[in-house]
């Protein structure tokens, strides 16, 4: 079974599942595996690795800058697959690749999915790959390689479209908390609660993770009350930006978000 499907199916986690995003090849080109490993050790339940892109229209300044830096470091899709090629010797958490569709198209969708399966990537998040194009042109390729495609919904997404996405999408639904690019300061507001409650009442077949504006334990906990868990991106990139000791800082960040006590860490 796909690791993402298995996680949501078998998790007994009451506190919410934590998915952390980071940009591949950031802060340094060779940090990808180090960051991934520390996230797993800290207790992240899923990890989303961003493939840097020159024109990330859905991202705010923090992630844009990490993309620019990673590209400057020389990051490419090929290098990323090379960095990940032996990850499954040590990494057990589900791993997703997040990025924009053009680099994937240039690599070739078929080759890309094949390579994902080979290195042990479980799912893809490609915000600018439209639902209809995925369904008519690419779904059979994803399916053949066992790669799940994760779709986004926003507070503006109509009920009809949410149902379509729930039908076609797999793994989980990436629930964007507010109308914004990544890195907005919002947290979880009253408007959002109404939206999250509306989603809960829809009885969707896919679980949901809430993203955008989640930055610490309080926002993570709040979001997890309304969904299977939450996704942290920009706030984690800021930790990486400022870190002098990546492994330590990453683990501490995850402990804090999940509110793991010192005794639990020691045990």
């Amino acid at each position: 079974m796909n690791r993402i499907t298995k996680l949501f199916k078998e998790s007994t986690n009451q506190e919410g599942l934590l998915n952390v995003y980071f940009t591949a090849g950031f802060p340094k080109l060779d940090d990808t595996l180090k960051v991934l490993t520390a996230l797993q050790e800290g207790g992240a339940d899923l990890v989303e690795i961003g493939m840097p892109y020159s024109d990330p229209v859905a991202d705010g300044e923090t992630i844009q800058k990490s993309n620019d830096q990673a590209l400057e470091n020389g990051m490419t899709v090929r290098i990323l697959f090379d960095q990940l090629k032996d990850m499954r010797q040590t990494i057990n958490v589900p791993v997703l690749l997040m990025g924009y569709v053009n680099p994937v198209l240039q690599y070739g969708i078929e080759d890309f999915c094949k390579k994902c399966a080979e290195v042990g990537v479980d799912g893809l998040i490609l915000p600018d790959l439209p639902l209809d194009v995925y369904e008519s042109e690419y779904k059979h390729i994803f399916d053949a390689h066992g790669i799940l495609n994760i779709f986004l919904i926003t507070p503006q997404t109509s009920e009809k479209r949410i149902r379509q996405i729930d039908e076609v999408g797999e793994g989980f639904i990436y629930t964007v908390s507010s109308a914004s690019v990544t890195g907005s300061k919002s947290g979880v507001s009253g408007d959002m609660e109404a939206y999250f409650n509306r989603l809960n009442a829809m009885n969707l077949q896919n679980p949901r993770l809430i993203g955008f504006g989640i930055k610490d334990h309080a926002t993570f906990k709040k979001a997890s009350e309304y969904a299977a868990g939450a996704i942290i991106g920009s706030a984690f990139i800021r930790v990486l930006e400022q870190s002098n000791n990546l492994s330590e800082d990453i683990k501490n960040f995850v402990y804090q978000v999940k509110n793991v006590s010192q005794e639990e860490i020691n045990a």
Binding site: V57, K65, V77, P127, D128, T157, S158, V176, S184
Partner: protein, 400 residues
């Protein structure tokens, strides 16, 4: 007004938003409702008689249409053929861009939008947007690459005087593509009350088709003006420069299905197509996705968008509209390019022969007149997309 539109519709957008394999709406979900709202309503709004009446009235009495079709005799003599200039440089605000912004502001009003956001390269589209926003009393925010803000200072001043807020795009190459990214992000963050006025035939469907329709007035006028002046139904060549391709799309629109009319699109070769400093998209690009549509774009092997270069800020864009990608791919369009130097030389030539100072963008179209192979009996219509006032600082460097 738009009844004579391409009867066979071979080169027009299909019902799914594609031109062949190009086009579509490759947008993040955050933009989906905005774009869907437009897609659902644009045709109905545009074809509404009250819209048409208001649009045509403004084009006539505010923009100054029809713009002349001018037989350039001395230029014709030089190239030993018959050259007509479509004088879009005489539009209010100095370029064809205003045809589109008039249409889109009327659309935005009918959609109940309170604010407009736009991107701009040379500043012509920004000025045209700020102008119609002033006219309609709508708040206006224009994103412009930091680099372009420096090299197009007069247009920045015009936008500010018109009451627009000009915001610098400081990421990436700091030019048009980055300003477009910022405008899209702004629209994501303000989905309900804001309309995004794209300045060219680029972006997700329905933008390329919508902008082409608003610019199609150019070729609509060309047809009857040519007939009136020469008795001919169609010219042999239509020549236009291509940044994103809106002036070219408008100039080609009513000739698309008349295969005997050669459609010539001219891209900016910068310092030379293969110099590493160029914006000649079809020569250097490959199919991919840029700003919401599948098109041809300049990119690295890894699929990263390449930073283009041209002396002309309006042509300094790494892609072309999806319809142009289709015209290129299908062979219906002929794609040529002109270097910085060739364009500047052509600008001086037109100025000295005809007393018209063209925009640097339009000068690229002028620069290929000698390469067309047009005979003394043939007719060439060149779309003079804008005037050169904004480019005087650049031109001055060539005057000794």
């Amino acid at each position: 007004m738009m009844a004579s539109v391409a009867e066979k519709n071979l080169y027009q957008v299909n019902s799914r938003g594609y031109y062949g394999t190009f086009g579509g709406a490759f947008i993040p979900e955050m933009l989906y409702p905005n774009v869907e709202e437009l897609r659902e309503h644009y045709l109905q709004i545009i074809s509404d008689p009250s819209f048409q009446a208001e649009y045509n009235d403004l084009l006539r009495n505010y923009v100054g249409r029809p713009t002349p079709l001018y037989k350039a005799n001395r230029l014709s003599e030089k190239y030993n053929t018959n050259i007509f200039l479509k004088r879009e440089d005489l539009c209010h605000t100095g370029a064809h861009k205003v045809n589109n912004t008039i249409g889109q502001i009327l659309l935005a009003k009918r959609l109940g939008k309170k604010r407009v956001v736009a991107e701009t390269g040379a500043g012509q589209h920004g000025v045209a947007t700020a102008t119609v926003c002033a006219l309609m009393n709508i708040e206006c925010i224009v994103y412009m690459g930091e680099l372009d803000i420096e090299r197009q200072a007069p247009n920045v001043a015009r936008m500010k005087m018109l009451g627009a807020e000009v915001r610098a795009a400081t990421c990436g190459s700091k030019t048009l593509k980055d300003a477009t990214n910022e405008a899209m992000r702004h629209w994501i963050n303000n989905p309900v009350d804001t309309h995004y006025i794209i300045g060219s035939v680029v972006g997700p469907h329905p933008y390329p088709d919508m902008v082409a329709r608003f610019q199609s007035i150019i070729s609509e006028e060309m047809r009857w003006q040519l007939k009136e002046q020469t008795g001919k139904e169609t010219p042999d060549y239509v020549v236009a420069c291509v940044g994103g391709g809106s002036n070219a799309a408008g100039a080609f629109y009513h000739f698309l299905d008349e295969e005997q009319v050669k459609l010539v699109a001219v891209e900016a070769a910068g310092q030379g197509v293969h110099s590493g400093h160029s914006a000649a998209t079809t020569a250097l690009g490959k199919p991919g996705v840029l700003h919401g549509s599948r098109t041809i774009l300049m990119q690295t092997e890894d699929g990263q968008v390449t930073e283009p270069y041209s002396i002309s800020a309006g042509l300094d864009y790494p892609g072309i509209g999806p319809q142009h990608a289709y015209l290129f791919d299908s062979g219906r369009g002929t794609f040529l390019s002109a270097t910085d130097d060739e364009a500047v030389q052509a600008a001086f030539e037109l100025t000295r022969l005809e007393g018209i100072i063209p925009a640097l963008e339009s000068s690229h179209a002028l620069a290929v007149l000698g390469k067309l192979g047009a005979t003394p009996n043939e007719t060439v219509i060149l779309n003079l997309s804008g005037r050169g006032d904004k480019d005087m600082a650049t031109y001055m460097k060539y005057i000794d």
